[in-house]
């Protein structure tokens, strides 16, 4: 996009030169920024303040800035005494495993359906597309019973991270996204590699995967964010508190612990994803745009 067209929005460059328009735009922008700061940042700033405020002050004067001093002890108590560290590690385990299983299934299936193209591939693609019509939450009960007694193996996955990792892999969205990306890779490169003697496995590992970094980044962000946010499913399949991720444990802690320690715990749980977002902003926003924009 050239600089000229990039500057062209609804308001033209010519219109921007008019003093009245410029004044209005400045006022609107300042107002917009103020609104976004209050709405987007406000609650988080309040949480940061409350995390280091004694319970009594937060309850009596929630909007006052430390009338009786600061209390940094809350953060340490939340992290060590309430075992936030363990639940945090559980969240990492849930997210990491879901990420690995989703990436494995999406790339191998995408490769088979897009590049190897077996004759029955269209049927399988159709069956994957079909599951997109079935909202995941509606499968809650049968999926829970499946985790309770896995067909063929007859083992229970309850209280095992596999109960979260494996169902996460069955994401039709990922498979279709990766397949469409592979569809658009140049076939000439594959042919050339095969002329040089590369087999299907070599082609997958050394040619297709290295060419797919952008889509793998998007799928990765989707996978980690979804695992981080998930609440209902881990609540059902991980009843053992020692296995539960932060999202499941926090509502229980809310009823058990001091308010100041709880708010400190909420603050710590928010800080990590917010920092990740600020670092990897581009990937987050690209993924967010994808869910509504054209998938192709």
């Amino acid at each position: 996009m050239s600089a000229e067209t990039e500057d062209r929005g609804i308001v033209s460059i010519h219109e921007r030169r008019r003093p009245a328009v410029r004044r209005t735009i400045t006022v609107t922008e300042v107002g917009l920024l103020g609104f976004l700061v209050v709405i987007g940042l406000g609650p988080l700033l309040w949480l940061a303040k409350a995390a280091i405020t004694p319970t009594r002050d937060t309850l009596r004067e929630p909007m006052a800035l430390w009338p009786h001093g600061l209390d940094f002890q809350n953060l340490a108590t939340a992290w060590n005494h309430e075992h936030l560290d363990r639940y945090f590690l559980n969240t990492l385990a849930v997210a990491g495993g879901s990420w690995a299983s989703q990436l494995l299934v999406a790339t191998t299936a995408g490769y088979a359906l897009s590049v190897l193209r077996p004759r029955y591939g269209k049927i399988i693609t159709g069956m994957v597309l079909g599951t997109m019509l079935v909202p995941a939450v509606v499968l809650l009960v049968p999926l829970y019973l499946t985790a309770l007694d896995v067909p063929v193996l007859h083992i229970s996955l309850i209280n095992s991270f596999w109960a979260v990792w494996l169902p996460a892999a069955a994401s039709p969205f990922n498979v279709i996204l990766v397949k469409r990306f592979f569809d658009n890779l140049p076939r000439e490169v594959f042919e050339a590699a095969m002329v040089d003697g590369a087999g299907p496995f070599r082609l997958f590992w050394s040619i297709v995967l290295p060419m797919s970094r952008p889509i793998l980044g998007v799928v990765s962000v989707f996978a980690v964010v979804a695992a981080w946010k998930d609440f209902l499913w881990p609540l059902l399949v991980l009843p053992d508190p020692d296995k539960q991720p932060l999202s499941v444990r926090l509502p229980v802690l809310a009823d058990l612990i001091q308010l100041d320690v709880l708010l400190a715990a909420l603050f710590v749980s928010t800080l990590i994803p917010v920092v990740l977002f600020l670092v990897f902003q581009r990937f987050f926003l690209r993924g967010a745009g994808l869910s509504g924009a054209v998938k192709g």
């Binding site: 033209s12 929630p62 494995l104 909202p135 499968l139 009960v141 002329v195 509504g292």
Partner: protein, 314 residues
């Protein structure tokens, strides 16, 4: 595939002519091996549960006694449960309020933000920040904000303007709007990003042409920008309806469905059927309700799917 079928080393010209339709030379075994992880994952955790939910909805199952075929009894039971209709009404109310609060706000924000020339990244980051907050944290935080006493956070702020105090979550008329307000705050940023992407795709020539016809800024927004966003507006509408029909986290954590069932939603009801009682869950009723919800949502999903697909093909 036998060697006779195809040349062993195809000339580049042949490859180019055959283009995307061409299969990679490889044995069938490789395809099966590569499909295996997906077949296992989907077979066990998607196709099998889908089939099972249809079967279970016509069975009486509670894991204690063996499953019995009961015909449409589960459906009749659920349809005659007065709580279902309360839940349907509440879910509809939630969806309606969410449209009222949550549909215009991201659009207005995105249109204004798309005109920002300096530090647009800061605007985008601020708008998206609530989406990054883990949903459970957001609900627990807002639950504290909604404290009904005069020293609650919202009541303190509104008190400066001489309003309140309001009971928020404890009031059967304010509870649902409170839930929707938090859900809107948590989700609006994602929709803003979708609209921003769509706004950059509006061809600038259209604005140029409108200006030649003497259109004012407002007329350009109304006659160029909004019509150009028609498709994406429809998609976000469907996505939002699909999302709100499955709302669970907010009523479960904020109110548990109360006060007096004012925030009982369909998914919360399904959860209560299956897992709410400490004795044994009524899995038949839960799956029957799930299947009915699935049928409604499948219509919306099919619509969403058709829309996005026809775009990517054109």
């Amino acid at each position: 595939m036998s060697v006779i079928d195809r040349p062993t080393s195809p000339a580049p010209t042949v490859v180019r002519r055959e283009g995307r339709g061409r299969r990679v030379r490889g044995n069938r075994l490789a395809a099966v091996i590569f499909l295996l992880p997906m077949l296992i994952a989907f077979g066990v955790f998607s196709w099998y549960p889908i089939a099972r939910s249809l079967v279970m909805s016509v069975q009486q199952t509670n894991l204690v006694s063996p499953a019995q075929f009961v015909g449409l009894d589960n459906y009749t039971y659920v349809l005659q449960d007065p709580d279902l209709w309360t839940a349907v009404r509440n879910t509809g109310y939630f969806a309606g309020l969410a449209l009222l609060f949550g549909y215009p706000v991201p659009l207005v924000l995105a249109v204004l933000m798309s005109e920002v020339r300096r530090w647009r990244g800061i605007f985008t980051a601020l708008a998206y920040l609530p989406v990054v907050v883990p949903p459970v944290v957001a609900v627990l935080l807002w639950k504290f904000f909604y404290d009904g006493g005069p020293a609650g956070v919202f009541n303190t702020v509104l008190g400066w303007a001489g309003l309140g105090p309001y009971a928020w979550l404890n009031s059967s008329s304010l509870a649902m709007p409170s839930l929707v307000l938090e859900a809107t705050w948590a989700a609006a940023g994602g929709t803003v990003i979708i609209y921003l992407a769509a706004l950059t795709a509006v061809p600038p020539e259209l604005y140029d042409a409108a200006e030649v016809d003497g259109a004012s800024i407002w007329q350009k927004v109304w006659h160029v920008t909004l019509p150009q966003l028609r498709g994406v507006l429809l998609v976000t509408l469907i996505l939002q309806l699909i999302g709100t029909a499955q709302v669970f986290l907010e009523p479960y954590l904020f109110t548990g469905g109360g006060p007096s069932n004012a925030t009982l939603t369909v998914l919360l009801l399904i959860y209560n059927y299956a897992f709410g009682s400490s004795l044994s869950g009524d899995f038949g009723a839960a799956t029957a309700a799930s299947v009915m919800l699935a049928v409604v949502l499948a219509v919306l999903s099919a619509l969403y799917f058709r829309l996005t697909r026809s775009w990517s093909q054109s």
